[in-house]
């Protein structure tokens, strides 16, 4: 355990939603028994669609939502339902890069203030040192020193995202959660930001959790990949295993859904497209949550929830038919 930077142990986060008057109170199982590790310096790709629980999972890892069940070890801290984390230590361990570079910067703060305030808050009192660290980090993310006194509205989307990345790195965290870091950017800007994130990872020895629905991006940056569906991890493994030998029908459906202009060998994904819509997380189907959309559905799938089982060392899939290759 010691060498893991982050480990989630049967983590569950549930919310009560609705009201007594209108339809009664229901339990939303946003995250439902997730077990996961991230090593220092590793990039874990986290793939899933709306309602799969990836945002809640991110909030839980940062200590902003407490687990209903299970435990989180991150850095040297343990978080559980009755043991909230130390806010300051947490901030120096885990940080986040947001999707929308427009809403994620305070419009009334200059770049300098956005970067310097957290340093002062965390006890870097020396003025010269604060300034040096701000300018140094700005250079690392590709901003010029004269940008320091500008406000967010003076920057383009790509530059704003650079500021957002700098803010996430200013306290030298060990783990950075990147929540769709390029999907709100212009297509011609995305490569700049992906390259930057990879450079910074090597340079600063960072671990990433890369949340994205863009499988091309996930494949490009990840060492390992976890696929979530309605609160559960349905498949996880090394990037090559997930993309070359996907075993869960949902993973295959995700890959099949990517328009492929180069007419990729259709064999791996033929007939793999999912049908219908994602069920509500408030009322997931019994058994395997994916069963109503699954091309492999059998009676067993509506009765028994498949557990994550080993396909190969380090490659797990939660499907009754994980060993049946189509």
């Amino acid at each position: 355990m010691a060498e893991q930077l982050l480990s989630l142990d049967d983590l569950a986060v549930q919310f009560k939603v609705g009201s007594m008057l209108a339809g009664g109170i229901k339990t939303l199982k946003a995250v439902d028994g997730v077990t996961l590790d991230v090593k220092p310096g590793e990039c874990l790709g986290l793939v899933g669609e709306s309602g799969c629980g990836k945002s809640t999972l991110a909030l839980a890892i940062m200590g902003l939502v407490l687990p209903t069940r299970g435990r989180i070890h991150v850095g040297g801290q343990q978080i559980s339902g009755d043991k909230p984390p130390d806010r300051m230590e947490m901030a120096r361990t885990v940080q986040m890069v947001f999707q929308d570079p427009y809403a994620s910067l305070n419009p009334r703060q200059t770049v300098r203030r956005t970067l310097a305030d957290p340093l002062r808050l965390h006890g870097v009192g020396d003025k010269a040192e604060v300034e040096a660290r701000v300018i140094d980090l700005m250079a690392k993310v590709g901003l010029r020193p004269e940008h320091a006194d500008r406000y967010p509205h003076e920057f383009s989307g790509g530059q704003r995202q650079r500021i957002g990345i700098a803010r996430a790195l200013i306290l030298k965290p060990k783990l950075v959660i990147c929540d769709e870091p390029v999907s709100a950017l212009d297509v011609s800007i995305r490569a700049q930001i992906i390259n930057l994130l990879l450079e910074l990872k090597d340079e600063m020895g960072l671990a990433y959790i890369m949340i994205s629905h863009d499988l091309g991006v996930v494949e490009h940056v990840s060492d390992r990949v976890a696929v979530m569906y309605l609160g559960r991890i349905v498949e996880q493994g090394g990037w090559q295993e997930i993309f070359e030998d996907p075993r869960h029908p949902y993973t295959r459906a995700l890959i099949a859904a990517i328009p492929d202009p180069f007419h990729r060998a259709a064999a791996t994904v033929a007939g793999a497209k999912a049908k219908g819509e994602i069920a509500s997380a408030l009322n997931p189907p019994p058994g395997c949550h994916f069963n109503p959309r699954c091309p492999l559905k059998a009676d067993l799938c509506t009765v028994e929830t498949p557990l994550l089982g080993t396909v190969a060392p380090g490659h797990l899939a939660a499907c009754h038919f994980r060993d049946r290759i189509i």
Binding site: A253, R264, R293
Partner: protein, 335 residues
């Protein structure tokens, strides 16, 4: 009902022809050309894609075809010919007759395009009543059939649902049902799946392509996603900063992109399977930022970001050069 169909029957030219389209944007005392010199043709039943980044003018080009440009945007010049009929100067009443019946449109966010206070069945039926003079009873039956066609499960119950009771994918299906209700000749789809989950997106695209093929409806697909468009369309035009910089047959645009911008876009995106084939390569970046309309550079508008830029690019707007199979490219350094 003055039969707009009359000319349609004998038309053997392209269904839609846009020629030298210019769209003016009224700023503070200055007028900008948000779109200029845009020309393209869409054949009957053809799927045509218009690709570009936000602000490149692709969406307003589509709006101009629908006659839906609103202040501060206005048609600055050019011709829009639908089925042999010039419609760029058509009155609001004429355009209303065309919309829905001959040309229909679906949008990125179906929730904003649907009336939240009316059941979806009624909104589909309205099309039959309005454009085909059907009775409400008959129209409701046909609405149910239309929902079945877009594969909404148990349509007999869904016709009474309100938009907020449906998921995003279901709402977009309803939009498609409304758009295709009167069998239009052209369906304009503006980022129809951008707001949807990827697995749902794939289904909606397949559905749209299939229905349009069955009915012989042409599609003008607008998207920022070159891969998506190239997969679905016969031909693709790429827009940058208000101009079409390249247009080609869809298969060719990925194989032989001719404009540095198109090439840059294709090279800069990580493609599935690429890492397994070649290992992790640094992505090819397109430097700089997308210019804003107030600061479009002179000459070729891609010149500040172009790796192959020379002096002529900074001064002279490149003319269209022909490519095989009716393609064009606007680059001084092509060939």
């Amino acid at each position: 009902m003055t039969g707009a169909r009359v000319t349609g029957a004998g038309g053997n030219g392209p269904l839609l022809k846009v020629e030298n389209l210019r769209i003016a944007l009224q700023g503070d005392g200055v007028t900008f050309n948000a779109v200029e010199n845009v020309s393209f043709e869409i054949g009957r039943g053809e799927a045509f894609g218009l690709v570009g980044e936000s602000g490149c003018g692709k969406s307003i080009t589509a709006l101009s075809v629908m006659g839906l440009l609103r202040r501060p945007l206005s048609l600055g010049g050019g011709r829009i010919v639908l089925d042999g009929e010039e419609i760029q100067d058509a009155s609001a009443a004429e355009m209303r007759r065309l919309r829905g019946k001959r040309v229909a449109m679906i949008f990125q966010e179906p929730m904003t395009a649907l009336n939240p206070l009316s059941p979806v069945g009624r909104q589909i039926a309205e099309m039959f009543v309005l454009h085909q003079g059907a009775s409400w009873r008959e129209a409701m039956d046909r609405a149910e059939e239309a929902l079945r066609q877009v594969r909404v499960p148990s349509p007999e119950r869904r016709i009474r649902d309100y938009p907020h009771q449906l998921s995003g994918g279901m709402r977009q299906r309803v939009m498609i049902a409304i758009a295709l209700a009167c069998g239009p000749d052209l369906l304009i789809a503006d980022e129809p799946t951008t707001a949807l989950d990827v697995t749902v997106q794939a289904e909606i695209i397949d559905l749209m392509a299939e229905l349009c093929a069955a009915k012989g409806t042409a599609i003008l697909m607008i998207s920022h996603d070159l891969g998506l468009v190239a997969n679905m369309c016969n031909r693709v035009a790429v827009m940058y900063a208000g101009r079409i910089i390249e247009s080609q047959v869809a298969d060719a645009i990925f194989a032989t992109p001719s404009h540095p911008y198109t090439r840059g876009l294709i090279d800069s995106l990580p493609r599935l399977g690429e890492r397994a084939r070649r290992g992790r390569q640094r992505l090819t970046e397109i430097s700089g930022v997308v210019p804003s309309i107030q600061a479009y550079p002179a000459g070729c508008r891609f010149n500040p970001r172009c790796p192959a830029v020379t002096d002529i690019c900074r001064t002279t707007v490149p003319e269209a050069t022909s490519l095989p199979a009716d393609g064009i490219v606007r680059c001084h350094h092509h060939g």
